[in-house]
């Protein structure tokens, strides 16, 4: 790690003030994306503003229509929340599969989403459920949030505060692991709402994306066989030693079918 200054923020306002004062600051939440990046010396922030102590950004609230998760809620809390399990079991299941137990104890939902790692799990749920991302300044629709590799609609110094996930009739998430890192090589989140079906994919492209052809087919008939023959073109998909674009394209259909079959 390069040297940096460290600050602890008690409130969102406090964090914003510290952010403005620093040259090239970064917010630090659970640190399970940022610290590995710093250890590899892939980033060189002048200041880290530790927001993990801001109590208002933590916790899970469940209503009949939405599950709202504070940005600083660690994955383990979402995974084990009986209210989340009841309202959107696929969301709890997704959180249960992130990284490993120790990562889930520290890593936060906000950190994961704000970072938009192409292989992270949460973006699939955010997009697949059509969630609303709230920041200190505004609300952003999921469809307008993910912009590219590690790129989101968040502006410099904007803090993601919570995300509100609409409760679907049923939803499923299925991930195919990149064997070494166990991030998603391909992850597919499928959600069935009264008004239709949403299908979101992570791991396969520069950032999470939806698959309209699958949504259409599943809206007509919510069953694995409805996806038969529907594939995502390989052209724009990621390709690496663990999976060519062609293989990823194939896996999207396989995982989508399995997500539908597993949807609850």
């Amino acid at each position: 790690m390069y040297a940096f200054n460290y600050h602890r923020a008690k409130t969102v306002a406090d964090a914003l003030k510290l952010y403005k004062k620093a040259d090239d600051p970064k917010f630090l939440a659970g640190g399970h994306t940022l610290i590995p990046t710093l250890k590899q010396r892939l980033a060189r922030p002048s200041d880290l503003i530790d927001i993990s102590g801001i109590a208002t950004l933590k916790g899970v609230k469940v209503s009949k229509t939405a599950v709202t998760i504070g940005a600083l809620t660690p994955h383990v809390e979402v995974a084990t929340s009986s209210a989340v399990k009841k309202a959107i079991p696929a969301l709890a299941g997704l959180a249960e599969e992130i990284g490993d137990p120790q990562v889930r104890h520290r890593g936060t939902m906000g950190g994961s989403v704000a970072n938009s790692d192409p292989a992270a799990d949460y973006p699939a749920a955010v997009l697949g459920l059509g969630a609303t991302i709230e920041t200190n300044a505004r609300k952003i629709e999921a469809d307008k949030f993910f912009k590219g590799v590690f790129e989101t609609a968040l502006k410099d110094g904007e803090i993601l505060t919570k995300i509100s996930f609409p409760v679907p009739e049923k939803a499923g998430y299925m991930r195919f692991d990149q064997p070494a890192s166990r991030f998603a090589l391909v992850g597919v989140f499928v959600a069935k709402f009264k008004g239709g079906v949403r299908v979101a994919v992570t791991g396969a492209g520069p950032c999470a994306f939806r698959v309209p052809a699958m949504e259409k087919a599943l809206s007509a008939k919510f069953a694995p066989e409805a996806l038969e023959g529907i594939t995502v073109p390989a052209d724009d998909l990621n390709s690496d030693i663990h999976g060519s674009a062609e293989y990823r394209a194939h896996l999207i259909t396989v995982m989508a079918k399995r997500a539908v079959a597993a949807a609850k």
Binding site: F4, Y6, G31, I35, K39, L48
Partner: protein, 155 residues
Amino acid sequence: MPAVSMTVNGKKVSADVEPRTLLVHYLREHLGLTGTHVGCDTSQCGACVVHINGESVKSCTVLAAQAEGAKVTTIEGLADGDKLHPMQEAFREHHALQCGFCTPGMVMSAIDLVKKNKNPSEKEIREWLSGNLCRCTGYHNIVKAIAAAAQTMRG
């Protein structure tokens, strides 16, 4: 340099450290608690697992400053005098360690599993260990030891 203070294995400690000091390095270099190991630089191997406020975490992915005020338990803090913790005892009984390097992290991780799941199945144990790498044992005896320790700890 900012001061950090925390409770490690029941003892209050504090020191001035560079902000970029990781908790694992604070434990090893400043406190001389070298039982917690560093086996990778990508937060995957789990040799560095300790408990922060009772929960297993990777101390290579936490700044010392982030543990301000926390209760930290390391492998050195488990045994009661000469009496091993049931998990340590089970690892010994079932030959769940060879070179011993991953062992502290394995034990700390396993204790947290059994705290959360008093009667884990073989599958649950194997899945829980996804964040702990071992190159010696093939995990076989580690899984056996954790199941046995869980039984002992259930009483």
